[in-house]
């Protein structure tokens, strides 16, 4: 089991720890997962996400290589732009989802911890076979990653940083320093709130983390550590996917509603398969369900009004901001329309479930 450089800090602050993607991670702090979720929606949450991996792609063929390897259009990106993408196999199935930064002379690609081995092998094998010279480097161990998220996150960043982070548009990145520590800051996130993700040398983890909490507190900006349980409910409410749930190596992007992340006017691995699904129509679709009478959890069956099983919940939970029990599930396309009445089987009992528009919580930056 791996642990992050902040592991002892989490334990000393009373976190409940549990394994996630091979790392012993904080699930919640004594604040409690529900309150942590609400703090991130009203002020600032700090997330230790060092389990996330980072790849650097460089070399004379790097631009063409990245474009050919990932689903999203990337060649129109300017230096310091950031963009969401999928990584597909030839069958058009989702190996991982990525955050891609175009930096001067190189591409900085953020990958999921649980898929790190698969992704690194995939990028390396394709780079070797690529006609032009491409270098792929796994920087995951040397790079620390924390997220600073919430409506006051940018205000806090402006206070601690040597440059005005508030002047960086959303989905761009910049180099800056916090307390002398060099940080690559991406104005992105996984909560539906404004804020950013910080990349910096792993040895500085505890100093930067503590500095953010102290400066936040001293400036009257409520700044609290947030565990993975609230990270999951925040991303779920905001309609963001978690690999292994809404997307996976047995799900194609069209079923999951990710046509927008496929640059169909360029070539990329899996494009033909994706186009075939678009042409024939997906066999199932991802829907959001609001459920009455229990927490709809992963693996629970979804039934139609007549009681026929029509799908399965891939993620479900109590959503603290909207105060609802909700699930994401794959169902036949004809049952995917908002307003369709379905059932979720909770401990053998069919509970009312209504197909609703996703996301349940409209991210602040989209309002």
């Amino acid at each position: 089991m791996h642990s992050t450089a902040l592991h002892d800090w989490h334990v000393a602050h009373g976190a409940k720890m549990a394994p996630f993607a091979g790392y012993d991670m904080p699930i919640s702090y004594p604040t409690g997962a529900v309150e942590e979720h609400l703090i991130c929606r009203r002020s600032v949450g700090l997330f230790d996400i060092d389990h996330m991996g980072q790849l650097v792609v460089s070399g004379p063929g790097a631009d063409e290589f990245v474009s050919a390897t990932v689903s999203a259009k990337v060649l129109d990106m300017k230096d310091w732009d950031a963009r969401y993408s999928l990584l597909l196999d030839e069958k058009g199935l989702v190996l991982d989802d990525l955050f891609i930064y175009r930096l001067p002379g190189r591409w900085w690609i953020v990958i999921n911890a649980g898929n790190r081995a698969v992704d690194v092998a995939w990028f390396n094998a394709r780079a070797e076979a690529f006609p032009k010279s491409v270098f792929v480097e796994d920087r995951s161990d040397a790079t620390y990653m924390i997220a600073v998220q919430g409506p006051r996150a940018i205000e806090l960043m402006d206070l601690v940083s040597d440059r005005k982070v508030s002047e960086l548009p959303r989905f761009t990145a910049g180099d800056l320093k916090i307390g002398g520590i060099p940080v690559l800051f991406g104005r992105t996130g996984y909560t539906g709130e404004d804020g950013g993700e910080l990349f910096f040398p792993a040895a500085q983890a505890e100093r930067l983390w503590s500095l953010l909490i102290e400066r936040g507190g001293a400036s009257g900006i409520e700044t609290k550590p947030i565990g993975l349980a609230a990270r999951d409910s925040l991303r779920f409410e905001a309609g963001m996917p978690l690999h292994g749930h809404e997307i996976s190596a047995s799900i194609n992007p069209i079923e999951a509603g990710f046509k927008w992340a496929c640059g169909l006017d360029k070539d990329f691995v899996g494009k033909a398969a994706v186009e075939a699904v678009i042409a024939s129509g997906p066999a199932r679709k991802l829907v959001g369900l609001e459920v009455e009478g229990g927490v709809p959890r992963e693996g629970y069956e979804v039934a139609d009004a007549a009681g026929m099983v029509v799908g399965k919940v891939v993620a479900g939970m109590f959503c603290p901001t909207v105060k609802k029990y909700a699930a994401n599930a794959f169902v036949k396309p004809e049952l995917a329309k908002a307003g369709t009445a379905l059932k979720v089987l909770i401990r053998g009992a069919a509970k009312d479930a209504l197909v609703v528009k996703r996301p349940l919580y409209v991210p602040a930056y989209r309002r």
């Binding site: 919640s28 409690g32 997962a33 109590f318 029990y325």
Partner: protein, 132 residues
């Protein structure tokens, strides 16, 4: 961990507290211990039986759902459910805030008083829970 010294407990972390019944005699108030709510974390849903339901000691009578998991609740005594705490459907976090008070779950009219006597007393439960 907070302990209600007036209550008795079972190893599965439900407490059972004797209280005078309006109709004379006594009833048993059932909930989960402070140790249990603490280790479950934030409670987001509680499913309880309707009044009138007859329970056997050891039988699953309801479910408490935390952020991450659903756990069965086991009847510490046999008897008929006189009331279920309806406030928990609106605010399940009462179990976290005040498990021995406003976070109670059911009131039971017991059929066998000896069952309550056989439960763990506060000191024995504290020792038992401390092992976890």
């Amino acid at each position: 961990m907070k302990i209600d010294t007036n209550a008795r407990y079972q190893a599965s972390h439900e407490y059972a507290r004797k209280e005078a019944a309006a109709s004379g005699g006594f009833e048993i108030v059932v909930g989960i211990s402070d140790h249990a709510q603490e280790s479950l974390g934030d409670i987001v849903f509680v499913e309880l039986p309707a009044a009138g339901k007859v329970l056997k000691k050891g039988e699953a009578f309801g479910v408490v759902e935390s952020v991450k998991a659903a756990s069965d609740l086991y009847a510490p005594v046999s008897g008929k459910v006189v009331a279920a705490n309806e406030a928990l459907s609106g605010d399940p976090s009462l179990v976290n805030k005040d498990c021995y008070g406003s976070g109670w779950m059911i009131r039971v009219a017991p059929t066998d008083p000896a069952e309550w006597n056989a439960l763990l007393d506060a000191a024995a439960y504290e020792k038992e829970a401390g092992k976890e």
